[in-house]
Symmetry: C2
Subunit: 328 residues, 2 copies
């Protein structure tokens, strides 16, 4: 709407129209897309945005695009939805280049192939000082099966996918390059942590397992402790066994070198793993279905009667504070 | 995701949760919303964003919010869709206040009541230098009835709603306050033009008339001439009779004082009126249905064989240039 009309039309035709592979998107030649959910299915919608120098630094354009898309696909997965498509609102900082957009679109194309989604619509505006990328993602699931965030009940088992803390450690090292040296991390471990921050891994493979077995779930974006607490809608206490929280080899070595980093791991955020409360008799089949889907899950605690969140097994001297997460 | 978690939670609870009146939005206490289209219906999705000092100046917060929502509802109306809900991605510039957000939310609440929509989800990030507001709107319509942008055929009648050029004249006077004086416009006329820029009037009332009668339609955001041209998908020439284009009293007076402003009117943009191609035998019932809905429509031309767009009845010395529209 607000780049010169012909310039915007040209960049849409060149970079974005090829991504609009669903017929409902009409090749981005219309002002809206039509979406027809499969019979008996609901749509699940979510939106998340990222901005330059807040959520990403000087990352390659394809990584920025993929991150913007993946943080939304992660929300869909946690709700049990299969990804279907997305809309993109792109705010371009002055000085953008055609090469940048080509890389950005290539990143989207790669993830479209990986996750089976297509671009349904978009808007490109001028934001002058900094790039902003807002994505609205749409998924589908059988009617009435969306997995809610709250509703864990006493007795449920607390699970988390993948490993926790890598992205937060990656960010910490990026803002403080001396940290990696101080921790004595080898290059492959540094790279692992950096990549976990650069490119979230939405756990779309376990959407069906969550729908089938989980009582409540969400993805971990603001830190494991604070996000796990959200599983309780009241009348339930989320208990995390700190010693059971799954760590990568790099994460383990970082904490071994500086035990205080456990706080970064447990509260740092940007993990984009899924934390879920699963009724006790569903715990085994849930873990089995996740294994079948190729996604590691670990039991890290339980739901008790009560309220709030508790951490067991914390080493002496580690204080998690409020457990919240801020990009400031 | 990126204000301090507790601060974001507080502003959501205070300002935005009351707007999430649809049960599928779970009061914004989840990370996604569930949308179930009525049986036999499709969803229509569209996204448009606005940024401070690009799309709006120092406007009141409620007006900024309403504009961001309405430009999207305008797209839905042009596609024949009834508005259902929207997602909001809000980029806050540093220095935002709680009062600003209260005004912003009040604007949304007013428009939710007026257009029958509710907030389905959102994200709030920090954009430092300038406010950005990206909205994704969702509408519904009977399956297979979305009105396409292209597809006008020779013989069709060209219609437009409301009056054209007001918003562009309002913007011109805002950037050049001396202009209003030079044109000798009285205060009510100046105010009319300013308000037409401040607050678009999405023509949601004629969605059904468009579905029933129109061959092709879109809303006019980038200027009447350039947007009308999009009705042709090839093999059709859009012919506009400049003398027939409906003007407000203020617009008429502005052009009488300075005939060169006709270019601003025909190509200026931000009208958010709907231009449609209607088969000749549907022209009369279309106009009647629009009248029943309380929306003025005017026949402003026709579709011929050929290609592109032609303007008839232009006064001597008016050159429309490329007809595009830019916020630069």
């Amino acid at each position: 709407m607000t780049l010169p009309a012909t310039r915007e039309a040209a960049l849409i035709a060149r970079h974005f129209a090829p991504l609009a592979t669903d017929p409902g998107a009409v090749g981005l030649t219309d002002d809206a897309a039509v979406v027809r959910p499969p019979p008996g299915h609901d749509l699940v919608v979510t939106t998340d945005a990222i901005a330059a120098r807040i959520h990403f630094l000087d990352d390659p354009p394809d990584a920025i695009a993929r991150k913007a898309l993946r943080v939304n696909l992660s929300d869909l997965a946690a709700k049990g939805a299969a990804p279907f498509g997305y809309l993109l609102s792109l705010g371009l900082a002055d000085g953008w280049t055609d090469d940048f957009l080509a890389g950005f679109a290539a990143g989207l194309a790669a993830d479209q192939a990986e996750y089976g989604v297509s671009l349904l619509g978009g808007d490109t505006i001028r934001t002058v000082e900094r790039l902003t990328v807002a994505v609205t993602a749409i998924g589908t699931l059988p009617a009435g099966t969306m997995v809610r965030r709250a509703g864990a009940r006493p007795g449920d088992v607390l699970f988390v996918t993948g490993t926790i803390g890598d992205a937060a450690l990656g960010v910490a090292m990026r803002y403080n390059p001396a940290l990696a040296g101080r921790l004595g991390l080898a290059e492959p471990h540094r790279r692992h942590l950096a990549e976990r921050n650069l490119l979230p891994q939405p756990r779309t493979g376990i959407a069906a397992a969550l729908r089938t077995h989980a009582r409540a779930a969400l993805d971990v974006s603001d830190g494991l402790v604070g996000d796990a607490a959200k599983l309780s809608g009241g009348g339930a206490r989320v208990v995390i066994d700190a010693a059971a929280v799954p760590l990568s080899e790099a994460g383990r070595r970082a904490i071994a070198a500086d035990p205080a980093l456990l706080k970064t791991v447990l509260t740092g955020g940007d993990d984009f793993e899924i934390v879920a409360a699963v009724p006790p008799d569903a715990a085994e089949p849930f873990a089995a279905d996740c294994a079948d889907a190729g996604v590691a899950v670990t039991a890290i605690g339980r739901i008790d009667a009560g309220d709030g969140v508790a951490i067991e097994g914390l080493p002496e001297g580690i204080d998690l504070g409020t457990g919240g997460f801020a990009h400031y």
